[in-house]
């Protein structure tokens, strides 16, 4: 029997339908039934929300590493899905660099099955561009598509050659799928482990220059223009890349892009202090200089950036507790993204809540061609409920993710998640807020 719920009294922010303000949301089963003023309960379970709380279409993190199959000591689909809903995400798209690589229907179906068993956030698998992510031949992209993949990438690496990238863009355009690209010229990267700049020079760390990212982005944007395919630039970090994307968009290329919270808040100074050689500040692409961070913010504000995603990359403590150059790249991000974004972008007045919802819900849904991004009647009842004034202090011991590798331990933010609803079911309720 379908259950009805009525969310009453919250502040709705739904840019897709233009509704911003005090609205009630009626859920019927797993769908949105109606959104309006002063709706009648009619037997629905009424959840009364304070007006300070924000109700928006469910957030979708389109760049997450769930590590299953193969590296379950870092994270599993289940623990990742739990971390996602605690972070306010109703859906995640997970990367194919698992072991084995997700270049076949078998792995894709395993991921979907695990997600269904967990019953928390929706999981959209992303398949590999090349077989084994080796950069030689295309993977069976149609098979991946049929099994449930929403995009393809060789993330962790760029697509190895221009010719393969061209083929991948032509091929994926047949299915209207984006090719997601980790932009990084491998010869310029060499064995670098930090941003090439004065900080790395003085710490004696081999550097990766910002242009390594821009060079591959430039290549792919031109190929997307030429082929009509869609390239989505993952985790942008360099100001030169932002320039390339801006120019590509102005010429009408099908390019979209995402930025991670750490790239619009942190710089490479973090490698030197307060903890010298902190491996929790090591990820790829690396933290760069103030000019790059400011360029990311400018792109978010002026609309060049389409998506905020986390590149959630869990690693076990033992793997990170080694010499800086030997530590794996990556930090977790599912449970910190919302607080960072509200505190550093919304409360500072750089963007409004509608723009935040575009970046974290509307655009990811559009780019991945999945349902969501709006609270229109008939849309799935995936809802993110925010408490924008909640004081939050990050404590890595309290993270739900299996891994705790975050540089934000001890940081305080204003803004957090009150609750998360997926398919009409409350899958997360924050006890510190206690409204749902």
């Amino acid at each position: 029997m379908a259950q009805k719920k009525l969310l009453k009294g919250g502040h709705v922010v739904d840019p897709a339908t233009g509704r911003v303000g005090a609205f009630d949301v009626l859920i019927d089963g797993d769908r949105i039934a109606e959104v309006g003023k002063n709706l009648n309960a009619n037997g629905a379970q009424v959840i009364t929300l304070p007006s300070s709380v924000v109700v928006c279409p469910g957030f979708i993190d389109m760049h997450v590493h769930l590590r299953e199959p193969g590296q379950e000591h870092k994270e599993t689909v289940a623990t990742g899905a739990a971390a996602a809903v605690a972070g306010g995400f109703t859906a995640v798209a997970c990367m194919p660099n698992t072991r084995p690589v997700n270049d076949n229907a078998g792995v894709t179906k395993l991921i979907l099955q695990k997600a269904a068993e967990a019953g928390l956030a929706r999981v959209y698998p992303i398949g590999a561009v090349s077989r084994g992510q080796k950069g030689e031949e295309l993977a069976d992209i149609a098979e991946l598509r049929d099994a449930g993949c929403v995009a393809v990438t060789d993330d962790g690496l760029p697509v190895a050659t221009a010719i393969l990238a061209r083929r991948a863009l032509e091929y994926t355009s047949m299915f209207d799928m984006p090719m997601i690209e980790h932009c990084e010229d491998q010869t310029l990267k060499a064995d670098g482990c930090a941003h090439e700049g004065p900080v790395a020079a003085w710490l004696g760390l081999k550097g990766i220059p910002g242009v390594a990212e821009a060079i591959t982005a430039g290549r792919d944007i031109l190929l997307a223009e030429m082929t009509g395919g869609h390239v989505h630039i993952a985790h942008m970090s360099a100001w030169t890349t932002m320039e390339a994307v801006r120019q590509g968009k102005s010429r009408g290329a099908k390019v979209t892009c995402e930025v991670c919270p750490h790239h619009f808040t942190l710089t490479d100074d973090l490698l030197a202090a307060p903890i010298a050689y902190d491996t929790n500040a090591k990820m790829n692409p690396p933290l760069r200089e103030a000019r790059d961070r400011d360029a990311m913010i400018a792109g978010i504000v002026d609309g060049t950036v389409d998506v905020i995603a986390t590149d959630h990359a869990p690693h076990h403590y033992d793997e990170k507790n080694v010499e800086f150059d030997r530590a794996p790249f990556g930090i977790v991000g599912l449970e910190t993204a919302v607080s960072i974004t509200i505190d550093k972008l919304v409360h500072t007045g750089l963007i409004g809540l509608p723009r935040m919802v575009e970046l974290m819900s509307v655009n990811p849904a559009r780019i991945l061609r999945v349902a969501g991004g709006s609270l229109a009647p008939g849309a799935p009842a995936d809802i993110t409920i925010l408490a924008p004034d909640l004081p939050v202090t990050i404590d890595r011991a309290k993270l739900i993710s299996k891994s705790k590798n975050t540089p934000y331990h001890g940081w305080s933010f204003k803004g957090g998640v009150a609750g998360t609803i997926v398919g009409g079911k409350v899958v997360y309720s924050n006890p510190a807020v206690g409204v749902i």
Partner: protein, 330 residues
Amino acid sequence: MDVAQQAPAAPPLTALRTKHLLGIADLSAEEIVLVLETAEAMKEVGQRTIKKVPTLRGRTVINLFFEPSTRTRTSFEIAEKRLSADTLNVAIASSSVVKGETLVDTAMNLEAMSPSMIVLRHASSGACHLLARICKAGIVNAGDGMHEHPTQALLDAFTIRERKGRIAGLKIAIVGDLLHSRVLRSNVLLLTKLGAEVWVCAPRTLIPVGMKQMGVRVTTRVEEAVRDADVIMMLRIQLERMQGAYFPSQREYFTTFGMTEARVVLAKPDVIIMHPGPINRGVEIASEVADGKASVILDQVANGVAVRMAVLYLLAGGAAESADGAEKTS
């Protein structure tokens, strides 16, 4: 005279603030001078018949070297023994690393033997900082990756002071592979802190980003670097660190950047030539220059023991400052 009401002048520094020496970056100019002055007394110990004092008796010092090194390790070992410490040399061949034992595990196993200090040389920058976070022992950096080699810079400074009487105001030229050199970074930090005019010189491909921000003059012309220099410091071309097109050949490097007699005469007549060793004869330095009258390369080696004795003594706890500053008399 009412001593109780006299505000005491800040007493001269006689101890280091921490129990680790991770880099020159953490030392103030005052602390650097303290090490150098203490090293003078330590040098005198090395000139006695019985080259031993009981200061670190009963203390265990472990030399944990992940990179091969005869010179630095021997220097530390002699320094430790002259202070009567019990020394233990642990040389990790690269095969152990391949076997999978991590730096952290190795260090924790050694900690179980309660060493006072661990002298660490490792191929990764920041390895000493990692150990300092997890070990109780004091950590002495004997060279971490491309980051710092603080005792080398200290013995270089000691040698310069010995020959020139001072460091402030001298023109010091450092020539060689700047990009990969930890000796460079430590020396630049130390010499600028003590007021020298530092010039660095290398092919463009071997100059690290942000060099100018560290208060040095940068040039790709070796003649410009050594003109009227008081000190010329050569760095090795680290053939084992380099893969990839930094310069076309050793021959071309020597022609353009090698320290030859013809270049040495551009410096001051009483210039001293330094090199941390081991020397690549005919690559960064001509044999005649390395063995010539102006060369103090062997003095550097000799001074290394005294400087390391001073470092170990000051870190092992010359004694904490007490609040009332009173001196316990005999």
